[in-house]
Subunit: 476 residues, 2 copies
């Protein structure tokens, strides 16, 4: 199906009616856990169960098959044993539903017999123009529509919320990772729009979702975890990426760099990991950013979601702690950023307005007794000078001379200049609070100089992808 | 003074009587903040102020000079302007106190005039056999004796606690970093024994503290942040390290790898950063582990403090999430660890006792519906086989089939085998709780596969340092 039919994919996220095949009254079953998600008041669509054993489950009506449901059904969630799924798909095709998430395992990931069943359901689905996510997956969480097929209880697996600033969507081959990331991003308070676990990818794949998320106004950054592609699907994914990356950042964590990891991923989701070197070149050509791991991906995605891409690679670091300045500029230098010394003119202006014991340079150290007005002076002069493209603001809040109003000073300079800002602030509870305040004002904060440097790198790297020759690259 | 006089250094951490030179009644002054620390009920020694303006400060007696204090004074904390410090040191020498922390700045870090004053106080101190920490520092926090000269309020800068399992001590050239780390480790709940900020290092230096902490029974791992050494002091530090590292791990984060960072550190603490390549070789010869940054240092130190060093480099990963297994073994492979496949005998035993759909290999995937007894089976058989030196246990707790009792299973196998274990568990609140439980039982837990892999690397690296030729190195 080329080009991808956006509307068919949209049903997975915006279905107005959902049927749960395998809805169950037995506690702790997958079939009950999914019903539990849809009876929460947040989900405002219609919900039905399909299971001949019951007439209702947790208060929702339950039917022997989809045929008995009078209304149309946008999305079917399947949680029945694999061997029963061909009959389920015949029922789905007859009903005319167009989107199915198959949660159940026991398909191609288990061997040839399972693969046969998978082929069978795919064939039935194709005839009826039915799209499938899965099998062998946890499905979808949409934080806006509250479609949620993750069959994991909220006390174990928190669900993230959308931010009112900017949101990240994640596509994961691994269901366990999708769940862990749901739980983790909920705890971190990162703004998330959609989490999608693809499992065996028997139909809907990375490429379909890239087309869809590229056009999705609630998704500002697209993240992937993949263990590999088959050759043909890989090619179309990279082709699509070339059209998406000029206007929306795409980040991919691809595991399976090592030989052993490749063997493990083979048995995990039945996919071939492919050659890593080939992949690296393809990612680069397609404008895809490839972080080393999840932590780096979310550190980068946070900056890309909240801040504009950089127009060049000249970074100014301001700090009230000398050591923090040294560590951060070290990390920036290792990542290939340019950290130019202020011009003699700019240096003169700094010196006129700062106490003599401040160390003017890059990093510029406004020292331990700094208050927010020193930050104000430095940012004002540096922005007016036009000598820098990105600002890293180090604020160590252990010293009481630096009041919380520094958050306003930073956010206001960011907003009025339109230039990308990254804050680094290391510490405990007071520092965490300051980071939350910065986030509400749209500026990302990091706990270490290395994380902040990586965020800067992402903003420069994406600027280069977006602006191409117009990106002002000065570092050698 | 070679060898280092341990008793003279011990006064900085175990002084039974302390005088604060510059004790002050004015709120938010450094002289008041330090008094505030010592009047907390935790500190059980005697406290005096020295300041001609007052007869008491916050209820403690205050004297015009040390001479008026009847008792002996073990430790003097100096918080008066630099120009007054030579007179203060004459008073100290007359009184016979042997340990002084100079908090004040305005010395060699500000230029030649400050350097002259610094030379002057060093000369007076030498004559009287007085040891100095600083100047231009925040001094010392000892979590056992509650000596605490950090002049930063607790609501901004939390103080860590000692753990009853094992503790880390940190020596930092940068005061701001020492404070940020105090705050950060307090939040993380890491067990800390001592934090020491060295500032300009006019007398007590990295080497003195290495001698002292090497013998300190409350310190299990020694960490350093340094921006450089002078040549002579560097040599003696590395000589001392050779004698300490065979029985206690030493980790150093040295910044200033980049040219720009070097310039910044010069103006920050007046120290020469030195050539980075020379330093690398020296660290290796001395058995010092050199993490890339603070986060890595504390991830490694946590494992080294809690777990025994490895006797070899053969790692087994067990997981209930395939993706987590892939990511972690990827990271282990990149770090040069050996991840051998189970022998056919061991594989047979696993297969006999695990469900057929588990993926036996390395990683061994006990899959998403695993309960703690599958972990029990795998760890029991793997330990008996003798095929592995280190165990990485991945537990994704989003799935309700894995109960909290898995923490007992893991801790019991660790204890009875005496082999090093590292846990990796990614998620939110429930996961964090499990990590806290594991910590109480002495097993370190990490939020990502990469962090866990780094911890494994530290345990293997230190095993190699400790056991030399007897370390079973199998990876090529």
């Amino acid at each position: 199906m080329t080009p991808v039919d956006i509307d068919s994919i949209d049903l997975f996220f915006n279905a107005k009616s959902v049927a749960i095949y395998g809805a169950s009254a037995s506690q702790n079953s997958v079939g009950q856990a999914i019903v539990q998600n849809f009876i929460k008041p947040q989900y405002t669509g219609k919900v039905y169960g399909v299971n001949p054993k019951y007439t209702q489950v947790l208060g929702i009506p339950c039917f022997p098959s989809l045929q008995e449901i009078e209304d149309s059904v946008d999305l079917v969630v399947v949680a029945v044993p694999a061997r029963l799924t061909p009959r389920v798909f015949e029922d789905i095709a007859r009903k005319g539903s167009k989107a199915v998430i198959v949660i159940s395992g026991g398909f191609s990931e288990t061997g040839p017999r399972g693969a046969e069943i998978e082929d069978e359901i795919v064939a039935i689905a194709k005839k009826g123009n039915v799209r499938i996510i899965g099998p062998n997956c946890v499905g979808v969480v949409d934080t806006h529509s509250h479609i949620d097929t993750f069959f994991l209880p909220e006390y174990r697996c928190g669900r993230p919320k959308p931010s009112n600033v900017a949101n990240i969507s994640l596509v994961s081959q691994s269901g366990a990772f999708a769940a862990a990331i749901s739980d983790w991003t909920a705890e971190l308070g990162l703004g998330i729009s959609k989490l999608i676990s693809l499992g065996n990818k028997c139909d809907v794949d990375d490429d379909d979702l890239l087309c869809y998320l590229g056009d999705d106004s609630t998704t500002q950054v697209i993240c992937y975890y993949t263990e590999g592609y088959d050759e043909e699907k890989g090619r179309s994914f990279f082709d699509t990426a070339k059209t998406v990356t000029p206007y929306k950042p795409v980040l991919v964590v691809k595991s399976g760099r090592g030989q052993r990891a490749k063997a493990a991923s083979m048995s995990h989701t039945g996919s071939l990991a492919g050659s890593d070197n080939v992949a690296d070149a393809a990612y680069k050509q397609a404008g895809i950013i490839r972080p080393g791991n999840f932590e780096q991906m979310f550190d980068m995605a946070k900056a890309l979601a909240m801040q504009p891409p950089a127009r060049g690679d000249r970074v100014l670091m301001i700090t009230n702690g000398g050591g923090l300045g040294v560590m951060t500029t070290d990390a920036l230098e290792l990542l290939g950023l340019n950290i130019p010394t202020p011009s003699s003119e700019l240096e003169k202006r700094f010196n006129e307005r700062l106490p003599a014991y401040c160390a003017v340079g890059n990093p510029i150290d406004v020292v331990g007794d700094a208050n927010s007005s020193r930050y104000d002076v430095v940012l004002e002069e540096a922005i007016v000078s036009g000598e820098y493209d990105i600002f890293v603001v180090g604020m160590l809040l252990q010293t009481p001379s630096l009041e919380m109003d520094v958050t306003n000073v930073i956010a206001n300079h960011q907003r009025s200049s339109g230039l990308p800002f990254v804050v680094v602030s290391m510490g405990g509870g007071f520092t965490t609070k300051a980071g939350e305040i910065m986030a509400l004002m749209g500026v990302p904060t990091y706990a270490t100089g290395e994380k902040a440097a990586l965020a800067v790198k992402a903003l420069a790297q994406y600027g280069e992808i977006k602006y191409g020759d117009k990106f002002n690259k000065t570092a050698t």
